[in-house]
């Protein structure tokens, strides 16, 4: 309740007060930024907010475009953490001791969190969902980026050979030879197998498990590497250990900017999201919702995707702040969007456990 009052006070301050306060806040933030980037100390009049995300260049883009501006604008002290997962959220909710107020989570974690009632419903009185793509709206989470897992290849390694243009080509090892890599997990791969087998994009879910595994059998012995983490996919493609691999578009983009000759095939890509969510029962819920509202605004997302990272804004109006050249590199650019299918969190929620078991049994035999 106290926090709510403070927020209201902030809304009620005069223009001069605002300028003075923001000035001090920015000054303080600049000082602390030189000490360490992870604690954004300000006057802390607006309270303290603990944000957890996936680290690396991704969290850096959030820090620059979302977190620091929020801290400056509302005089909130923000403490950042990295390495979220739903298991840690459950531990916090069970213990009623919250290390995170706002947490960035992948879809499978959100789906599991909703199934087990570990997340606060989104307060639509605070969070303005206007302009947000409807794929990015769930009961207890709002999407903050679109990202794509798709087919990528090393142009230089292929030489003058024709490159794969779809998952069907990827499966066609005769006409498109070369070492290949896929991720060691059921999600995405089963969908790609169905696409390669001729299933239209809108008929992928619910997954025909037998058909998908039968198609996986056909490619199994041709996969040289089953990658396990995000760093590996780019390392494999860059060193040409694999000429083709499923990969995440943001990582491919970073490599491209470093002049690595990688290309991404949008055709048949799996469009997925990262989400903002609030652990259930968190006493700092109101401020957390306020942060989410700020972070999904068109202007903030526009700056984040234009300047700092090549993911897709979930707020479609954000494209107003993004140049046309840049927009073409992003997963939710309309031309790229129509070539992809959306990852179905509601299908995977209850099916992840049995299909993971089936996948692991399949892969060791």
């Amino acid at each position: 309740m106290k926090k709510k009052k403070e927020i209201q006070n902030q809304k009620g301050m005069t223009r001069r007060e605002f300028i003075v306060k923001t000035g001090t806040a920015t000054g303080a933030a600049l000082v602390t930024a030189s000490v360490g980037p992870f604690v954004h100390t300000t006057m802390a009049k607006g309270g303290t907010l603990k944000v957890c995300s996936y680290g690396g260049s991704y969290q850096e883009s959030q820090r620059k475009a979302l977190i620091q501006p929020f801290a400056d604008k509302f005089g909130v002290k923000i403490i950042e953490a990295s390495g979220p997962d739903i298991a840690k959220v459950k531990a916090q909710v069970d213990a009623k001791s919250f290390e995170w107020d706002v947490v960035d989570l992948e879809t499978r974690h959100i789906a599991r969190g909703e199934l087990e009632n570990l997340l606060e419903p989104i307060d639509t009185n605070v969070v303005n969902l206007e302009g947000i793509d409807k794929k990015a709206i769930r009961k207890a989470a709002v999407g903050n980026i679109f990202w794509t897992t798709s087919l990528a290849y090393n142009k230089k390694a292929l030489g003058d050979k024709k490159a794969c243009a779809s998952w069907a080509d990827f499966w066609d090892v005769k006409n498109f030879p070369g070492p290949r890599a896929l991720q060691d997990q059921a999600p995405f791969n089963l969908e790609f197998a169905l696409l390669a087998d001729g299933v239209p994009m809108d008929k992928i879910y619910p997954i025909d498990v037998e058909r998908a595994f039968k198609k996986m059998d056909a490619i199994k012995e041709h996969i040289t590497v089953w990658w396990k983490n995000g760093a590996q996919q780019i390392q494999l493609l860059t060193s040409a250990e694999a000429h083709y691999a499923s990969a995440w578009n943001g990582r491919v983009n970073v490599a491209q900017k470093k002049n690595v000759p990688l290309e991404i095939v949008w055709e048949g890509g799996c469009l997925d999201l990262d989400w903002w969510a609030v652990p259930k029962g968190n006493p700092n819920r109101d401020l957390a919702m306020k942060f989410i509202n700020f972070a999904i605004s068109a202007e903030r997302q526009g700056e984040q995707m234009q300047k700092f990272i090549a993911y897709g804004p979930t707020n479609l109006k954000a494209f107003n702040y993004i140049t046309p050249e840049r927009a073409k590199e992003l997963p939710s650019f309309p031309d790229n969007l129509k070539k992809q299918f959306a990852h179905d969190a509601d299908y995977w929620g209850p099916n992840l456990a049995p299909l993971t078991e089936k996948w692991k049994t399949w892969i060791i035999s």
Binding site: A87, P179, W226, S239, A240, E357, I364
Partner: protein, 296 residues
């Protein structure tokens, strides 16, 4: 020690608690006992409880382990990889310890320092270094191709061989030190005596040096084997599709599927399997040897 105690006057039991030597000694171990309880007994018991009660007593998680072939198969793979990497670390580590024992002190200290330094390089860095060395376009294959010795690159990575190389590299220091310290306690005059009595170098090694160094081999092998059972980063990065470890399946159950009771059951099963190995070791070699004692 015993002689000293006999000479020193033993304080009478009638003295206050504070003045009893046994109590003073006990006070010294209290921090260690507390740490052991908080960091070991408590977490392991809570895992055991979590695997058996949800919330009523149930064996369903253990039955699920038994009736789903995946988990016992992966446990078996884990054992195979652990045994193989322990053996390979022994084959590499034993000669190092043997040579160090007989080297001049300067040379010996240099190599001991070098081995200690390898503890300080992060696991991930070492794994990625092996990727650079072993991959298709890596150092080994490039050199062999350049020399014209091979036409197409060897597959050295993303298979069992890659895992063996990576895990051996990590485990060798853990094997070298116990063997080396046991060897330091062996009187080299015994070897001279054997040779003096007509034994060949090979006979001297097999019948004198090797049996005397066995406690070191046992200690090092047990340490490494138990570490290997819980490994999963190295097999994940350097292995192929078949090199799956049980700890990886436990992690999926904890992080992705939130099935903590089943994850706990898997952990308890892994712990039990480890204890079985420990018991076998104790039966044949004796746990006392781990800390340098002699089996009685």
């Amino acid at each position: 020690m015993e002689a000293a105690e006999n000479i020193m006057p033993v304080e009478s039991a009638s003295g206050s608690l504070w003045h009893r030597p046994a109590f003073k000694q006990f006070i010294l171990v209290v921090p260690a006992l507390l740490a052991l309880f908080l960091l070991f007994v408590y977490p392991i018991s809570s895992i055991l409880i979590k695997s058996l009660f949800s919330p009523e007593f149930t064996l369903k998680h253990y039955l699920y382990f038994l009736k789903t072939p995946l988990y016992s198969r992966v446990l078996w793979i884990t054992f195979q990889i652990s045994v193989l990497s322990t053996l390979s670390a022994l084959v590499v580590g034993y000669p190092i310890a043997y040579v160090l024992r007989r080297a001049r002190p300067g040379v010996r200290n240099f190599f001991l320092l070098a081995i200690t330094l390898s503890f300080m390089i992060s696991l991930l860095v070492r794994n990625y270094s092996w990727i650079i060395v072993l991959q298709r376009s890596g150092v080994v294959n490039s050199v062999l191709t350049y020399l014209g010795l091979i036409d197409s690159p060897f597959k050295l990575l993303h298979n069992k061989l890659g895992v063996m190389v990576g895990m051996t590299h990590i485990f060798v220091p853990y094997i070298v030190f116990p063997i080396y310290s046991v060897m330091m306690g062996i009187d080299l005059n015994l070897e001279k005596a054997a040779q003096n009595l007509g034994a060949s170098r090979w006979q001297t090694f097999w019948r004198i040096s090797f049996p005397l160094s066995l406690p070191g081999i046992g200690a090092g092998a047990l340490l490494v084997f138990i570490m290997a059972l819980g490994f999963f980063i190295t097999p994940a990065l350097l292995g192929g599709r078949k090199e799956q470890m049980i700890s990886n399946l436990i992690q999926i159950q904890v992080v992705d599927l939130l099935n903590w009771p089943f994850a706990s059951a898997l952990s308890v099963i892994l712990l039990l399997a480890t204890l079985v190995v420990f018991a076998i070791y104790n039966r044949y070699l004796g746990v006392e040897r781990l800390w340098g004692g002699v089996k009685t």
